[in-house]
């Protein structure tokens, strides 16, 4: 009899523990009144926090091809185009928001206004400046450094509001920078990198 009573008690204990597990997640007590009763809210883009809300397509690389040393000291420009596209945009209110894209030279530091440069890979002291335009034609109004440089992010390039929208601009390098220099000091491969900063901003 004693054994039966003990087994019954043990089963009862087991059932009690299991019940406590299933209920514990929903228990509220007077002793711990929830801790935080602050009600907060914030409004963000239409996509849930942490999810991808847009995709910007940037050029992989900027290649001026072969540069030639001019024989006279006159402007001799080499232009290449680049394209930035709002490949995907979700949950953005185009009336009040845009995906703003800024650009700067890789070596630019905060508020440095540094020009865009390509640098000789084997001799970093040799470099040539180039300008960035937000159009295919070279109009001074489209020179991006004509606008203010923003903090650490760079020159404002464009504000995208619609999926599929594209901007084709031009990189403009004056080969007159090579004029009169010893060509043996200049030969080699050059590289320069652009950094594109993007963020959802209110209009």
């Amino acid at each position: 009899m004693k054994a039966k009573r003990l087994i019954s008690l043990a089963i009862a204990a087991l059932l009690l523990v299991m019940t406590a597990v299933s209920v514990s997640a929903a228990t509220l007590t007077d002793q711990e009144p929830g801790g935080d009763t602050e009600v907060k809210a914030h409004i963000s883009g239409g996509n849930p926090p942490g999810e991808v809300s847009y995709i910007i397509t940037i050029p992989d690389v900027v290649d001026f091809g072969e540069l030639t040393q001019p024989t006279e000291n006159v402007d001799d420009y080499k232009d290449v185009t680049y394209t930035v596209t709002a490949t995907k945009i979700e949950g953005l209110d185009p009336a009040t928001q845009q995906v703003s894209v800024y650009v700067r030279d890789q070596n630019a530091t905060a508020n440095s206004n540094q020009d865009f440069k390509i640098t000789n890979k084997s001799d970093p002291s040799v470099s040539f400046m180039y300008e960035v335009y937000r159009s295919e034609s070279i109009n001074p109004v489209d020179l991006i450094s004509g606008n203010g440089y923003v903090g650490t992010v760079g020159w404002f390039l464009y504000g995208f509001t619609v999926q599929g929208e594209s901007l084709t601009g031009t990189l403009h390098l004056n080969q007159a920078q090579l004029y009169g220099r010893d060509i043996t000091d200049l030969v080699g491969e050059y590289s320069g990198y652009m950094v594109f900063y993007s963020a959802v901003q209110n209009l």
């Binding site: 991808v52 910007i56 992989d60 949950g91 990198y193 963020a199």
Partner: protein, 172 residues
């Protein structure tokens, strides 16, 4: 064996059975509450310290456009992210879209330069959604960004242009 010893053994059996049942109940409780659960999903790779779980079929969950594929590199962007103060992981979808033909190193950092996470090389289609953070953050609103350093998928990982996706990080 004496009768008394036999009686003692008989008494001990139900007690042992009861103890075993209670022990089984305790183990069951621990299993149900997840105390034994191993976090295999976010197991860090030992490539670069804290790296998180990299998925091979990372999907930015944005509707694809129809038409000719555009040249260039696709860079994901974000409106915001949220976490609780003191937490050591952040839900943020960081990855290299499968349409790309380049590799990426992704770095999550605050506007003041504090680095919260650095990824190993992400090949096209690779990414992660739960980011293990190198430090916890206090309650507040932070300017944050994911820096995507694009590289060629060659032996040297030759650098290409880079991109930064800025967003607001809310720590509640």
């Amino acid at each position: 064996m004496s009768n008394q010893t036999k009686k003692q053994k008989k008494k001990a059996i139900p007690i042992i059975a009861a103890i075993l049942l209670v022990a089984a109940a305790a183990v069951l409780t621990l299993i149900l509450t997840g105390a034994f659960k191993q976090n295999t999903e976010n197991e860090p790779d030992d490539h670069k310290g804290v790296t998180g779980y990299i998925s091979d079929d990372w999907d930015p969950n944005v509707e694809e456009t129809i038409g000719e594929p555009k040249k260039g590199t696709q860079i994901p962007g974000y409106s915001s992210a949220e976490m609780k103060a003191g937490e050591t992981s952040l839900h943020l979808s960081i990855g290299n879209p499968k349409e790309n033909s380049v590799g990426m190193f992704a770095t999550l950092k605050l506007a003041d330069g504090t680095v919260l996470y650095e990824s190993p090389l992400l090949k096209p289609g690779q990414g992660l959604t739960e980011i293990p953070l190198s430090r916890t953050l206090e309650k507040g609103t932070y300017d944050a960004m994911v820096v995507y350093q694009c590289v060629l998928l060659d032996e040297e990982n030759t650098p290409l242009n880079a991109a930064e996706s800025g967003f607001t990080l809310y720590v509640n």
